[in-house]
């Protein structure tokens, strides 16, 4: 019997911060102190609060230690585990109140969350199937195989109101129904696929689920296969996620060993096998038809719909494709019922949504909230607000396909319909927070550079359209734009939206349209006043030295191009023809004597 449990976060964020060494240190030192039999050591998936990682939690107290280093391990063992005294200096502190929080569940970050898809992340060891089973894992599969007809499964999913979490929000039950109704060819083959090609920059929900709770996806795919009549599935996952790939592979092997995957699952006569396929760095492969083309081993180009994948998908067979987070909800819906799931969320968007909080926010990390929660709750309460006393300017959702939510709309409840109405999209769940120092024209340009690069080139509206759009944005940020450009750019946006072949192209203009809608004045400042209000667009900036200058010569010594001259103890001057606007002088100045205009 163990008297304590030490959980060490093994998610990508903490892992990158040496959580692996912390785990090893615990393992070694617990053994040295003869505690290996008393203290259980577990490497878990992501706890969500990546900003203060690496994170260690010790039960039964639930003590939440943040920013832990391998050097802290001896103290944690001797104080907490042996003497039973909390190591206060490592306990998580609320950044606003500076109050020490003893347990994870007491933090503001966790209090307002509702964890369904993330229920096991940071709780169980993802590399041990027994722990998943101990938390009701594979119960839903047993229920489905022994008590339910395939159509009943689909009816439950339909009644729950679950919608696709990959971005478009298509009703999951309906998708399964279409595929169940589809008549297969003479081979009788249908496929179940999982989209784990999470390509939106700033989004890491799916990665964390695969790293923290891989069995939940396997179980749900098996349930889906039973519902539509499939015996082969594929998980298409980004090669950029090595830890997730490794854990899903371990999970598949363990499920096979337990007879929960493969031939004659649980003696029910139902067969389902699962194969992992790796992406190779093409954003467009997150689009459903492109993803299937890629699994077929070809260039991942999308194809026109219809025929829809439900009828003709992977290898020309009826196929369903759902996103990781969508699958992570399925087993809970089967176990707890459609009504339970539908009781959470807003009228048309049921359940919860996971968001990856990033950018200018204190608590960067992973949060799961009921649909219909306001952006204010997410940013101020859960996210802990904007660091360095800056002002919130906008949040970007939906990545390169989405738009921004300006500060004045911070009280809009987040769900599919509301976000669409204000010109953004739910997207897969990346939520990037921006403050007054971010230039919205520059952000639009950033996303267009991304989509232009990632356009597969198959259709002209996207290939040429995104290139032209980016040219307009470059022209504006370099100070050469005209007001006519704005109009032309807007027209071009709608042309691309209406004519591109796939979702990538159709949504590519969104970042431009939404910034034009809410931050038109910033575009006009760039065009008319030749000024970048946030001080980001280099071509429009100039640096000047004010009378605060003490003549310490630090700026002149650090200027990489020798643009600053002046005598010791006298005011210095910047030669604007030489200045490359790198900002080093301003960073180095100890007297705040250099200003950017």
């Amino acid at each position: 019997m163990f008297r304590s449990t030490v959980l060490v976060c093994g998610g990508t964020g903490c892992h990158s911060n040496h959580s692996g060494e912390i785990y090893d240190a615990f393992q070694k030192q617990l053994a040295e102190n003869n505690l290996s039999g008393d203290v259980m050591l577990v490497k878990t998936g992501c706890f969500g609060l990546c900003a203060v990682g690496p994170v260690v939690i010790i039960y039964p107290e639930g003590s939440f230690y943040s920013n832990v280093t391998p050097e802290d391990v001896p103290e944690l063992i001797s104080e907490h585990l042996i003497k039973g005294r909390l190591v206060r200096r490592l306990l998580y502190r609320d950044h606003k109140t500076e109050e020490i929080t003893k347990a994870l569940s007491e933090t503001n970050f966790y209090k307002k969350q509702t964890r369904v898809a993330l229920r096991n992340c940071g709780v169980i060891n993802p590399e041990n199937i027994d722990e998943y089973i101990a938390y009701d894992g594979y119960q839903a599969l047993i229920k489905v195989l022994t008590e339910m007809q395939p159509q009943e499964v689909i009816d439950v999913i339909k009644a729950s109101g679950l919608r696709g979490r990959g971005g478009a929000g298509f009703p999951t039950g309906l998708k399964w129904q279409f595929c169940r109704n589809a008549v297969p060819d003479e081979t009788g083959i249908k496929y179940v696929c999982c989209n784990a090609d999470e390509g939106d920059p700033g989004a890491f929900m799916d990665r964390s689920i695969l790293e923290g709770d891989p069995h939940s996806v396997i179980e749900a795919m098996t349930i889906a296969a039973y519902a539509i009549g499939s015996c082969q599935g594929y998980i298409y996952i980004r090669a950029e996620y090595p830890i997730a790939v490794q854990r899903i592979r371990i999970a598949i092997d363990q499920a096979k060993e337990y007879g929960l995957l493969g031939k004659n699952i649980l003696d029910s006569g139902f067969d389902f096998d699962l194969e992992v396929r790796l992406g190779s760095g093409a954003f467009v492969c997150g689009e459903e038809t492109a993803l299937m083309t890629s699994i077929e081993g070809k260039r991942g180009e999308p194809r026109p719909r219809p025929p829809f994948p439900a009828n003709k998908g992977l290898f020309g067979k009826p196929t369903i494709l759902n996103n990781v987070e969508t699958y992570a909800n399925v087993a809970q819906i089967i176990l707890k019922g459609a009504d339970w799931f539908a009781s959470m969320g807003s009228e048309k968007s049921k359940g919860t949504k996971v968001f990856a909080l990033g950018g200018k926010i204190v608590n960067t990390g992973l949060v799961e909230i009921p649909m219909g929660t306001t952006l204010r709750t997410v940013i101020e309460d859960i996210g802990g607000g904007i660091p360095n006393g800056k002002k919130f300017k906008a949040a970007q959702t939906g990545g390169p396909s989405g738009g921004c939510i300006p500060a004045e709309l911070i009280d809009v409840p987040i769900d599919y319909e509301n976000l669409a109405a204000i010109g953004s999209i739910m997207g897969s769940g990346g939520l990037i927070v921006m403050d007054e120092d971010n230039c919205m024209v520059d952000i639009a340009k950033f996303f267009l550079e991304f989509t232009k690069d990632e356009s597969c080139g198959k259709c002209t509206p996207c290939r040429i359209g995104t290139t032209r759009l980016l040219e307009y944005l470059n022209k504006i940020t370099s100070g050469n734009g005209t007001m006519e450009d704005l109009e032309e750019m807007e027209k071009l946006c709608y042309y691309i939206k209406d004519n591109a072949l796939c979702g990538l192209g159709q949504t590519a203009p969104n970042p431009v349209l939404s910034t034009l809608r809410y931050f038109r004045d910033e575009y006009i400042a760039h065009i008319v006043d030749k000024r970048c209000p946030a001080g980001v667009c280099k071509a429009l900036l100039s640096y000047e030295i004010t009378d605060q200058c003490k003549g310490c010569t630090l700026c002149a010594r650090n200027c990489p191009v020798g643009a600053i001259t002046g005598k010791v103890k006298e005011k210095h001057v910047i030669d604007k023809s030489k200045c490359i606007k790198c900002g080093v002088c301003m960073e180095k100045c100890k007297f705040g004597a250099i200003i950017r205009k």
Partner: protein
């Protein structure tokens, strides 16, 4: 899609590499959609995808070289250029970008004297820009092989690069 850069370096392989590739191709030749995994394995073995290797894959999997080349040049992770001993990768995801990843990559270009996608002449460093690698809490982030450096500032770069000299 990025421009295709072909390498001028001559192709050389060890018998072990050839044997490893043959074994993988034997496994994959009847797998539906086996071309992608084959290229991934080949890149794992050789570090990049020389045209000689692409020809062998085409033969063994019974697809045209045109198709192999098409796939190899479609995906950003496949490279036709040899890699440096240390691959310096700067994340240009949104979170990193808003926290100054642009300055980091520019500074590295100057320090290493290469453009992104290129390898230094001594074969020590290659520089690439990556999409979001998902540890946005550490933004801005770069990786050198499997080591991750987070919350970076440009003045840390010299010290970090020195570790690999």
């Amino acid at each position: 899609m990025a421009k295709i850069k072909l390498t001028k370096l001559p192709f050389a392989e060890t018998p072990e590499q050839a044997k490893a590739l043959d074994a993988k191709l034997e496994e994959l030749k009847d797998v539906p959609g086996g071309l992608m995994p084959a290229l991934q394995q080949a890149q794992e073995i050789y570090g990049y995808l020389p045209i000689e290797v692409q020809k062998r894959i085409a033969e063994k999997l019974n697809v045209s070289l045109e198709e192999v080349f098409g796939v190899a040049t479609f995906y950003a992770q496949f490279t036709l250029q040899p890699r440096g001993a240390y691959q310096v990768a700067v994340c240009l995801g949104t979170a990193c970008y808003v926290k100054g990843a642009g300055d980091i990559i520019n500074a590295l270009k100057t320090k290493l004297g290469v453009d992104s996608g290129e390898c230094t002449e001594d074969g020590r460093f290659s520089l690439i820009e990556t999409r979001c690698i998902g540890c946005c809490g550490l933004a801005p982030v770069m990786t050198i092989n499997s080591n991750v450096y987070g919350k970076l500032t440009t003045d840390q770069l010299d010290g970090i690069l020195r570790e690999y000299m």
